[in-house]
Symmetry: C2
Subunit: 478 residues, 2 copies
């Protein structure tokens, strides 16, 4: 065991036994270095490790503090062998290449006989597909052929008005001009990132990150600087700040609400800080907000976009997760980059599919979207409860799991010795897919984590699949 | 006048007066150099100029021959000041940047009050939009939610079967696995080009080229090597061969049938030669074949893909020009690159819009596609006749124009002193859009050319707009 690991364990013990209480400041680097006779960099590495374990967290210009609820919901660190290498405050910039792994996982979920806990989608059965089909029929039945031209990018005017209206209701005035309809949010994110970078540039991303983000970086030949995500606080602003000071970062990509895979939501105050921090460095924020509508509380969490006064936030949304999977209708409000992103869109795929745009515009006006959303949120919350219960019943006691306040993913930390890739293989052999942790990191970290999707109605099949999963995991604990 | 221009004029005079007859070989470079006391490179430049004027053409390993029907349909050369610079056999590799011009032209066609001769689209009124809407309704009404997953890339299975069937009927056996559905052909072309190149690579393109091709190169930071297009023969194989020998070209992009903007179709024998030439150099061909169904003759011209035995041809098609504009459903059969292209598709935009895919699959089975196509081809041919007549009536006598055997574009060579950008501005002021020649070249050549779209039903408005255009052009002849 390295010296910094030993020191980290000592601090962890102080936290576990309550000597260091939640919210309390841990010893400063200088103080700890002097009193323990170790170098400041060893202390730093130890704190970084504890931070990634979710035990402590940095506050800008104030030092490290014990996390609030680490014992209930804390998330651990990457696999031990990853820690053996020197742990920089900011993880190394890395060329991104996780595709092979991701594609093999994606392939597995296409089989309808597989229990798809590994899926990125909620079950299509939760969506009003029949009602949407009626909107599709009525919006295209008496269609004016000139719609073919009027629906060209930036997109169907009625749909863009409806989206602007939803921003307005949530308190944001957005000029219609800023809104561009895309082939799902994924295309929007691709276009945004391309608009603000050149091949070879550095991009600050989350660790863990949604694998599609890693794929976009790979496709655009960009390099990742990984910023840790905390289960309660989302992206770590202190580490991000250091990264911005140390590296010529050209963009930051963050899922600020119900992050995929951790489920973390950046609190509103910190979203404001995030926007302000990036503004000081003149770095654009690409805000992936596709789960925005899937909150379980009384109100939608505000996006970082709400605090943007400089047009530096490119806010990407979608109907794929909340209304119309498969329609591939997303959008971006790209701030000062709106024209550039629109041109890239035209050069890439001209415009989004017209019938899908027209159908969603019609549905938003007449279909009862808010009623559907209320029902959907209740279903997801119920399903989360069911899956958390199944984890408690079937998984080893050392398992730790987040409890997100929206979305449909659980990020599950298994005992350290478990290799989630082996769990993936063994589960697949028994007809169950899961998303193994290394999918979510360009450096293949999070080896003993898995992401589970609870976006399908719960039933006997789900319960039995969880039981099987639990058995597989236990059998690997030796 | 430069020496090579003088010599070119001498040869042109011999052709005009019939001393050199159609099909006859022009003097070899060596012979002409010796007998006229000029350097071989001067002869070469002169022949290159004549070739671009459509008067002669190269045959691989045989020298230059007088073109068959130069007086009727010959197309000229770029503007004189372009010729003042040394004319290399292969035009310089150039960074591509034509976007501003293209976007301003595109913007102009969105206004429904503009007569849109500048449009890239045929009139939506020519398409069975009502019938498609019925297919849309019936295909989605009783939709199985699992379709959301089954329609993921590579795409709707029924649609892919229908497309494979159409290939089969035209004599090509294509494995279903090779077919990927995309958001229109434009996305397919983007993905193909990205699959076979890295930023900074050279790509052989046509001169003139469809401007979207130039935009894709710009977006992917590729460089263009321009290969001339002949009105009867399409892309010049002799020049392409020299380019392949001289430059490290990584891909060739060609519209082999009814090329946009010239309307040229590469004859079948030469398509075979093209495939063979590229095979020898191991260079993939990205075949943009979006007008394939719009032929006026008895049979569809075979694509280059039909002669590909090595999987080196990436064949891109679309329903946008023949059936369903605005639906954004295209495809690619990417040969040995199929898996790579599919992965890029998933990373870029996941999959194509599900309702549009399902609707077209239904229409192809039940809608009467072939009947619709026959009607569409007749309309386009009639409209071509009407526009050619209007050119004869209203444009200056020196005007030269191609007579394509399919598609819906005329490539019009105006008198040399005309600046098509000025024509564009003046016409727009009178409510008429055209596509000026420089849109089609990364080096802004084709200054006195315009592309006219005859994809709208002909009527009094069209006739009057052509009359106005003629007046504008005459007024610029000073």
């Amino acid at each position: 065991m390295k010296r910094y690991e030993k020191f980290a364990d000592d601090i962890a013990e102080l936290i576990r036994t309550g000597v260091l209480a939640a919210g309390q400041r841990v010893p400063s680097v200088r103080y700890a270095s002097q009193t323990h006779g170790i170098s400041p960099s060893t202390v730093f590495q130890a704190y970084y490790l504890l931070e990634r374990r979710g035990l402590i967290r940095a506050r800008p210009r104030s030092g490290y503090f014990v996390n609030d609820s680490v014992r209930l919901q804390g998330l651990g660190d990457p696999a031990p062998e990853q820690d053996a290498r020197p742990a920089p405050q900011v993880s190394e910039s890395t060329e991104v290449d996780v595709s092979d792994l991701v594609f093999s996982v994606l392939e597995s979920i296409k089989d309808p006989n597989i229990v798809s806990f590994g899926s990125a989608f909620p079950s299509a059965g939760l969506f009003p597909l029949q009602r949407l089909a009626r909107s599709l029929a009525s919006a295209t039945r008496d269609m004016d052929p000139s719609m073919v031209v009027s629906d060209l990018s930036p997109g169907n005017p009625a749909l863009r008005r409806q989206i602007a209206l939803r921003y307005m209701v949530s308190g944001q005035m957005l000029p219609m001009d800023e809104l561009l309809i895309t082939n799902g949010a994924l295309e929007a994110l691709n276009l945004c990132l391309q608009a603000v970078t050149e091949p070879g540039d550095l991009v600050a991303i989350e660790a863990p990150a949604f694998y599609a983000c890693l794929q976009v970086l790979e496709r655009l030949k960009l390099k990742a600087v990984e910023i840790p995500v905390h289960p309660q606080q989302g992206i770590d602003l202190a580490v991000l700040e250091q990264a911005l000071e140390r590296y010529p970062i050209k963009a930051c990509w963050s899922m600020t609400s119900f992050q995929n895979p951790t489920g973390a939501t950046v609190p509103e105050l910190r979203k404001r800080e995030l926007v302000e921090l990036l503004r000081r460095h003149e770095v654009p924020l690409i805000e992936d907000d596709v789960y925005a509508e899937l909150y379980y509380g009384q109100h939608a969490p505000k996006p970082a976009k709400a605090f943007d006064t400089e047009g530096l936030v490119l806010h990407c949304g979608s109907f794929a997760k909340s209304l119309a999977p498969g329609y591939r209708v997303g959008w971006v409000a790209a701030g000062r980059y709106a024209q550039k992103v629109e041109r890239l869109k035209i050069m890439t795929s001209l415009c989004a599919s017209m019938p899908a745009q027209a159908a969603i515009a019609d549905y938003l006006q007449h279909g009862g979207y808010d009623r559907h959303l209320r029902k959907l949120r209740h279903s997801l919350e119920d399903q989360q409860r069911a899956m958390l219960g199944a984890i408690a019943r079937h998984f080893p006691a050392q398992t730790r799991v987040s409890q997100p306040t929206g979305g449909y993913f659980l990020w599950v930390e298994l005992p350290e010795q478990i290799d989630s890739l082996k769990v993936f293989q063994a589960a697949l052999a028994q007809g169950i897919s899961i998303a193994p942790g290394p999918m979510f990191s360009p450096t293949r970290r999070f080896k003993h984590f898995i992401r589970l999707n609870y976006g399908s109605p719960w039933g006997e099949t789900s319960e039995r699949a969880m039981e099987t999963l639990g058995k597989i995991i236990r059998s690997m604990m030796g």
